[in-house]
């Protein structure tokens, strides 16, 4: 039981990371119907920036500063490579973001160098006991931050007219324009938000073991998460992210005992298996908006 709970908590810990990354994907999707494959690079760049800033200003200031900086990068990226693509097929834009990912990552790697860089978070590997389960403090921090971020975004999309405008822009740019929505503006806003969020997620990815050139791979875990949740849903991203984390953690811990024939490290692909199962039942994920098909 203790073990099961421990596995669950670890799963939720990583899951909250995936969720945060997934949310950053969803924000971009909401404004432009594009899955941005550049998020891994933005995350890596954000984390790297934190490792540089943490010395002079400390972790608590470094993270928001990195987030702001990455929001700026998001803006630049949107302006230079996404805006010109308005009206073009989304998967072309998706491939552009892949190109972006390569570019940003190579540049970031120059700054990472060969070393493992440290984000210098205050938690390290210390743990606390919660109801008899040993939990790493950083997981608790991640969950708290996730809750805060999601609550803020929820309010944004629910109550501000910009949230609605963002979605409108993704559905029909011309119509949005004649409603007075600045399509470029909301797209820029979404990229900035996604960039900032990726940086925050990156900082957390860097806790525990640091940041190196390979760290970006984690961000790919957000892909099954957003699909499971439904591409355009914040709550979906959160549920999807947590589900991926938990499933992975359980498979990692117990697959050997129950299904060794699945091969080593089956945990890595387990999110995709979960994804298949979910989509067979709900083709738009758990919370995704069904595309309107009508003649």
């Amino acid at each position: 039981m203790q073990e099961i709970l421990g596995t669950l908590v670890r799963g939720l810990g990583f899951g909250s990371l995936y969720a945060m990354l997934a949310v950053s994907f969803v924000i971009i999707y909401k404004s432009s119907k594009v899955i941005s494959f550049a998020q891994p690079a933005l995350m890596l760049a954000g984390a790297t920036l934190v490792t540089y800033l943490v010395g002079p200003v400390g972790f608590y200031l470094a993270v928001p500063m990195a987030a702001v900086a990455m929001a700026g990068v998001g803006l630049v990226v949107e302006r230079t490579t996404i805006r010109p693509m308005i009206g073009r097929p989304v998967f072309v834009v998706a491939i552009i973001t892949l190109g972006l990912d390569v570019v940003i990552r190579v540049i970031t790697n120059i700054f990472i160098g060969r070393d493992v860089r440290q984000v210098g978070d205050p938690w390290g590997l210390s743990t606390v006991d919660v109801l008899g389960i040993t939990v790493q403090q950083r997981y608790i921090a991640m969950i708290v931050v996730l809750i805060a971020v999601v609550a803020a975004l929820f309010a944004f999309f629910r109550y501000s007219r910009w949230g609605l405008a963002m979605r409108a822009a993704s559905l029909d740019q011309e119509t949005s324009l004649v409603q007075g929505v600045s399509v470029g503006g909301v797209m820029a806003l979404s990229w900035a938000m996604a960039g900032g969020l990726a940086a925050v997620a990156g900082a957390f990815v860097g806790t525990g073991s640091g940041v190196d050139q390979a760290t970006w791979i984690i961000a790919l875990k957000a892909l099954p998460a957003i699909i499971i949740g439904g591409l355009d849903s914040i709550e979906g991203a959160v549920v999807g992210g947590l589900a991926v984390g938990v499933v992975e953690s359980f498979v990692a811990s117990y697959q050997d005992d129950f299904a060794p024939w699945l091969g080593n490290n089956f945990a890595l692909v387990s999110p995709y298996v979960l994804l298949l199962i979910v989509l067979l039942v709900k083709p738009y994920g758990l919370f995704g908006t069904r595309e309107v098909e009508r003649v």
Binding site: T81, G99, V106, L231, N264, L268, V269, L279, E291, E293
Partner: protein
């Protein structure tokens, strides 16, 4: 076929001679006089001449280029086969697939097993090295897997489908990594299929030709065959129904297109192409590492399709050659940029710039040339046609 039909739309009878009795009227070489002419593969003299010239030139390449270049070109031919396959499912039929790498892998391994050494204790082999056999086997096994996957396309749309097919790649990578008797296992790998035709291993040097020369000719021939088949599919009812399903599937269904069957066919055809391409690719490379069939490979194929031009066969070929030659190109570039260091430990160095350029070129291309290389080509052609009045 229905028995009674209204007059318009009757077409099931023998085609009546339409408008003319064949043969072009003298003096009007550009005028079609039969639908057969209009619908034939190379329907203008200009096309016939230019394609013919291109083929001759391509066939002469081994006398013009060094082996390393030939090898790249052969790789380009094979990648083009894979790109045509992806273009059929993604460009023509509109089903975005990020799973192409998986089918490439399936083809590579099927062919290697068929042609592999049966006495090898570590990995399976059937010892049938005759190229047509392993090639077809690779295509068919991949096609069957495509068939199994295709129902997903009927349920899922757009990026949902894309990510699920990406899942296929991850699951495939896992499979390839773990299934030692098939793949040799992660970090170990196995030999690719041997390109043996009528007893001769084409990758081996003969008195007259180097292995690379022979392989290039083989791959060129393969590309021609697969490209013609691709064109045929594209211009026939199958290709039209692909496009119909891509543009509006509900309307297509109401117009009498069996959408599920069309999607199924698109996946089957495309995976067949991928399977064959995988088999041929690794007969060039000679060695298969199980981690080769990842997201990156799929993305490269998508890039070929997009850069070449969506829904064009010739575009796929151009895109494939572009991607195949790009690393070589970017490698030459730093020679002209003196501020770059060629030492790997200094920054900025050529290797970083090489990768950077690769990403940047893809971005720039997609932003500035929406119709891809095919569009560039059309523009050049129109310019040429209008000459000397081009503006």
């Amino acid at each position: 076929m229905t028995t009674t039909e209204p007059r318009v739309g009757t077409g099931s009878e023998a085609p009546k001679p339409v408008r003319s009795r064949g043969g072009r009227p003298r003096g009007r070489p550009a005028m079609y006089t039969t639908y057969a002419q209009d619908m034939s593969l190379l329907n203008t003299r200009a096309k016939k001449v230019s394609i013919g010239a291109l083929l001759v030139l391509a066939a002469l390449a081994p006398f013009l280029f060094q082996d390393d270049m030939l090898r790249l070109l052969a790789t380009g031919c094979v990648l083009a086969i894979g790109a045509i396959g992806l273009n059929l499912v993604t460009g023509y039929a509109g089903q975005v697939s990020l799973g192409h790498a998986f089918f490439i892998g399936v083809g590579a391994y099927t062919a290697s097993v068929v042609s592999g050494d049966p006495t090898d204790e570590d990995v399976w082999g059937l010892g049938i090295t005759f190229l047509p056999v392993w090639l077809l086997a690779a295509g068919i096994v991949a096609a069957v897997l495509g068939l199994i996957v295709s129902p997903l396309a009927s349920r899922l749309r757009g990026l949902y489908l894309a990510i699920v097919t990406l899942g296929l790649v991850f699951i495939g990578e896992h499979l390839f990594r773990e299934w030692d008797s098939l793949t040799g296992g992660f970090g170990v790998g196995r030999q690719g299929p041997d390109p043996v035709l009528f007893g001769a291993d084409l990758s081996r040097r003969t008195e007259a030709f180097s292995g690379d020369q022979q392989m290039y000719w083989l791959m060129l021939a393969m590309l021609v065959i697969f490209a013609v088949i691709g064109r045929n599919i594209a211009r026939s009812a199958m290709g039209r129904s692909f496009a119909a399903v891509r543009d509006r599937d509900i309307a297509a269904e109401i117009t009498g297109v069996d959408v599920r069957r069309v999607k199924r066919r698109a996946f089957v055809v495309s995976s067949f192409y991928a399977g064959c391409a995988g088999a041929l690719l690794y007969s060039i490379l000679g060695y298969i590492d199980p981690s080769s069939f990842g997201l990156l490979l799929s993305v490269q194929f998508i890039a070929m399709v997009l850069i070449g031009g969506v829904s064009t066969i010739s575009g796929s070929i151009m895109g494939a050659f572009f991607i195949a030659l790009l690393p070589r190109l970017t490698r030459e570039l730093p020679a002209y940029l003196p501020f770059l260091s060629s030492s790997a430990t200094e920054t900025p160095n050529v290797f970083q710039v090489e990768t950077l350029l690769y990403g940047a070129l893809i971005i720039v291309f997609l932003i500035f040339e929406p119709r891809g290389l095919f569009g560039v080509w059309i523009r050049l052609r129109n310019y040429w046609k209008a000459w000397p009045f081009s503006y």
